[in-house]
């Protein structure tokens, strides 16, 4: 018989591995806690930069210092160097956080609201509404969201509002499917039946009894989606379909820096690093929230 060892699953041998399990649980709790601490710290830095950009940035992000164009980091009062027209990279990275966070949060707001409403409609009422909504969701899943976003922007044109709208509209499916699934599992529970029996109408049942029970799942998906929205916005800006070039954005800066990789690596590197750190913060916080609020997801 195979002796139970460290490489067998946790649940299968929990009674045999008391002290080991205790140590592992402690380690797991510590990791989860570190996810929360690191994630919150990274997001706090990004939010601080976005909120206080004019105060904390060392220079105006549009001011051109032609005498010091393509200056490497730590020269001529430019901590992260300058770009091809002498604009301060640090200031542009700080101001770029405004675009990324605005798009990330607002697009998730649009996607979450739309997806929750459609998921509620499909899950609570069922029938043809459910069929239509879920078929549209299936169809949307057949086209990669980036391809769909690019196709819509090709028609509507780029710009901050269009990017937010497109990302919101292409991002609803996740919420719709999860909300519908959750409602299907709770709409016939005793407390919902009881509310129905005492004469509560659909709006009251949904608002007072269903939404509070599915809020955790929506919050977890939303937190994890902010990061992917930030990456998608940056990708769209990188290929010239995001925010206008005169607005400092991390994706747009990386695109500008791509032409100077051999001579000025810093132009593309620091905005990319800023995206990675911010998205990592959102993902760490999302993971922690998932473990705490809804481990089934």
């Amino acid at each position: 018989m195979t002796a139970p060892g460290a490489n067998v699953p946790l649940d299968a041998t929990s009674s045999l591995l008391g002290p080991t399990i205790g140590r592992r649980r402690k380690r797991l709790a510590l990791i989860r806690h570190s996810y929360f601490v690191v994630g919150t710290a990274l997001i706090a830095v990004a939010l601080f930069c976005a909120a206080l950009a004019p105060v904390v940035s060392p220079a105006d992000p549009s001011t051109q210092d032609i005498a010091h164009r393509l200056a490497p980091p730590n020269t001529a009062h430019h901590v992260l160097g300058t770009d091809a027209v002498g604009r301060d990279i640090l200031s542009r990275v700080i101001f770029g956080s405004r675009v990324s966070l605005t798009v990330g949060v607002l697009a998730v707001g649009v996607a979450g609201t739309l997806g929750t409403l459609l998921g509620l409609l499909a899950g609570y009422y069922g029938g043809w509404a459910e069929t239509v909504i879920m078929r549209v969701a299936d169809l949307q899943l057949a086209i990669p969201s980036l391809v769909l976003a690019i196709a819509v922007i090709a028609v509507l044109g780029s710009g901050l509002l269009n990017v937010i709208a497109v990302l919101g509209i292409t991002g609803w499916v996740q919420y719709g499917r999860i909300v519908r699934g959750e409602i299907l599992s709770i709409r016939n529970r005793e407390y919902v039946e009881a509310a129905r029996a005492v004469g509560a109408n659909a709006a009251r049942i949904i608002g007072r009894h269903i939404l509070p029970n599915i809020a955790a799942a929506i919050v977890v998906v939303g937190t994890l989606q902010v990061g992917s929205m930030i990456v998608t916005e940056a990708s769209l800006s990188f290929v010239g379909l995001g925010v206008p070039l005169n607005v400092p954005s991390w994706g747009g800066m990386a695109a500008e820096g791509r032409d100077y990789l051999a001579t000025a690596w810093w132009i593309a590197t620091f905005p990319g690093l800023a995206i990675m750190v911010t998205v990592l913060g959102m993902n760490l916080l999302g993971d922690w929230l998932r473990d705490v609020l809804d481990p089934r997801l």
């Binding site: 299968a12 169809l139 819509v152 990789l261």
Partner: protein
């Protein structure tokens, strides 16, 4: 099995037809689609002439039937920039994109399967922690930035690999790694979850109780049963890879259909954009069909449901 397959083929065809309808609606979202088929400098006379030439002055249902009829034959019109059939231009670029996507898919498998399985089998160990850290960082890294960093190190500093183009196998390595890493990060996590769901089940415990070695329990009893959710995840990644290929092709100036689509958007070459979206959806529908066939081969119960 034949009936099951026929059902799946019809489903895939319906998805492509629905995407055609979406594209039709999409280009009419802003009202008159004629300006989308012309340079921004076109005057009113040119717009009117093009509207008539492209049939946009006809009733909507006539336009739709005509559009569907031409689209199912692969006729999306002529590229406004290059004067050649739009579908032909997209099809010409498909082999390059498929080469890149296939390499990225292979890289994804090479990374995600061992790390995901090991992380699940040694749950809560250092392996698991490192695997999940890779998944977190990989998912947080924008594809274009990873590409830029790889170019910086391997092409600019070390001069080991070419930074741009599609000449030879070496030119595929950096774009392949760039494209595969993001999907590998997602897949690692999902492979781990898939294996973790199977590990506590009774048949695994029984196999272990019989005295089978860990390797046999894993290879003979755990992985085949974890393969269905894992194949779903891997199949879904094809769509992610095709989407990511647009960005990767742009970073490495790789001549695939994603780069063609971006150039077409820049040139307001709407016939090419339409053909690109439909071809992408068709490739994804075909992949999903292949995944369905794999399911039915792996799990006979699926054929009879």
């Amino acid at each position: 099995m034949t009936r099951y397959l026929a059902r799946r083929v019809v489903h895939a065809a319906l998805v492509v037809l629905a995407v055609l309808a979406v594209v039709f609606v999409l280009i009419r979202l802003g009202g008159d689609p004629t300006p989308l088929f012309l340079p921004p400098t076109a005057d009113a006379q040119e717009i009117a002439a093009t509207r008539h030439a492209l049939g946009f002055d006809r009733p909507l249902y006539v336009q739709f039937v005509d559009y569907l009829g031409r689209a199912v034959r692969g006729d999306f019109g002529v590229s406004l920039r290059q004067g050649e059939p739009a579908m032909g231009l997209v099809l010409e670029r498909i082999p390059a994109t498929i080469r890149l996507t296939a390499l990225a898919f292979a890289i994804m498998l090479l990374i995600a399967l061992p790390i995901g399985v090991l992380a699940a089998v040694r749950r809560n160990s250092l392996y698991d922690l490192c695997g999940m850290l890779f998944a977190l960082v990989g998912q947080s890294m924008p594809t274009f930035w990873l590409g830029i960093v790889l170019i910086l190190f391997f092409a600019v500093k070390l001069r080991w690999l070419p930074a741009f183009g599609a000449e030879g196998v070496a030119a595929l390595i950096l774009p392949g790694i760039t494209l595969g890493t993001y999907s590998a990060a997602i897949a690692t996590r999902l492979v781990r979850s898939g294996v973790l769901e199977v590990l506590p089940q009774d048949f695994v415990r029984t196999a272990r109780a019989k005295g089978l070695s860990q390797a046999v329990v894993l290879c003979k009893h755990t992985l085949p049963n974890a393969s269905i959710p894992v194949i779903t995840v891997l199949g879904l990644q094809v769509g992610t890879l095709l989407g990511g290929a647009i960005i990767t092709e742009q970073v490495f100036a790789y001549p695939g259909m994603g780069r063609l689509a971006l150039q077409a958007i820049g040139n307001r070459d709407m016939p090419v954009v339409q053909a690109f979206v439909v071809v992408t959806a068709a490739i994804i529908a075909a992949t999903n069909l292949a995944v369905d066939v794999c399911y039915s081969l792996l799990d006979p119960r699926i054929r009879y449901t």
